[in-house]
């Protein structure tokens, strides 16, 4: 089995992976980072969103071996003891109910704010087209992202 080496949440990691292993399986099963969820098998739901070299991607639609040498950030990599501002905003504004979609929502939201530090409600709703939530009706998620963007702009950006 090939060995895959990448940086995950700032730490160099390597692990054996059959070539057909998806990145999301590698993160969850090999590295034990189960914060990245699998919600569908068609790459539609967005529960598995992580950052690959700084851009949001669905970790179910690429192989672990394709991330060789890349830098991956998962939901576990955001906090340094204290919640990252976007995470804190999701808690504060109750941007979740069951929480299954939340890691993907937060990772997408941070990519949005990195591209567009002051998103409008419309920008946020449009950006979330690849993240599906069946509990909240999205209202509190949108509120949380707006607040999270403001908190990140106010200096909490990481």
């Amino acid at each position: 089995m090939p060995t895959v080496t990448m940086t995950v949440n700032g730490r160099a990691v390597s692990g054996e992976a059959e070539p057909r292993t998806l990145l999301v399986q590698f993160l969850r099963d090999t590295l034990g980072l189960t914060g990245t969820h699998i919600g569908c098998d068609t790459s539609q739901c967005g529960a598995c969103v992580v950052h690959l070299d700084g851009l949001s991607v669905k970790s179910c639609s690429m192989l672990a071996v394709q991330a060789e040498g890349a830098a991956v950030t998962t939901i576990e990599g955001l906090s340094n003891g204290e919640l990252q501002p976007m995470q804190a905003a999701f808690r504060e504004h109750h941007g979740l109910q069951c929480g299954f979609c939340t890691p993907g929502m937060v990772m997408s939201a941070i990519d949005l704010v990195n591209q567009n530090p002051t998103p409008s409600e419309h920008d946020i709703r449009e950006w979330l087209d690849g993240n599906i939530c069946r509990c909240t009706g999205y209202h509190n998620i949108v509120k949380a992202i707006k607040a999270g963007a403001e908190a990140m702009a106010a200096g909490g950006k990481r």
Partner: protein, 278 residues
Amino acid sequence: MFLRPRTLREAVEALAAPGVGILAGGTDFFPALGERKPAGAVLDLTAIPELRGIEIGPERIRIGAAASWTEVIRTPLPRAFDALKAAAREVGSVQIQNRATVAGNLCNASPAADGVPPLLALDAEIELLSVRGERRVPLGSFITGNRKTVRAPGEIVTAILVPRTIEGPSSFLKLGARRYLVISIAMVAAILEADTTGRVGQARVAVGSCSPVARRLAQLERDLVGAGLEEVGARVEPRHLDVLSPIDDLRGTAEYRRDAARTLVARALEAAAGGFLQ
């Protein structure tokens, strides 16, 4: 076996062996597998620098086979490419656009591929490479049917080439059962060029999802020449859509598709004409 070559030469040599599948952004490749594993060896094209990037030349624009939809959106391009950029924003979601390539969309050859109508309207050509050499095929003859292309098993699509033979505003409209993340029921790309008197000098119109392969509406394009910019939508007649052969399926009936396509064509032309005012 998983192969991730760093040069094009290694890639075409690897592909000369039988049964090797090509992987780019993987956004069609993985969902199509479901629970199965790939049947043979997989050749990943995403680590080959020669396939990256979008080059803007005076005569033509070259979209490398590894260029993603996000790169299309972020690269400043002439306004005839606005239709392609609008289509790029419709391909799945941001995360899909960050991985998925334009070339993969064309090679996958779905009748509902959003990249096909804008690139057909741009008269794009496909550049293919194998150990036997290079060839170019117009996009209109590259895709031959539902999920069928003329690509030979040993060939890699290396780039999409767009000649700069039209200059003017363009538009793309897509109809789906919902607003976002949806498979097209019908989509239209239109590009207009004005002549010196401010009337239509050249028009290009392509319709997707209404035939096994997206089609240009050649008769309409001819009939639009000389039209005033305010009357482009009104020039569309049902006979102009006779080249389409929409089907009945779970997303819509043939009749609905034909009617929707006609409306979309008129609106896309009006939107493109509106671009002259900006």
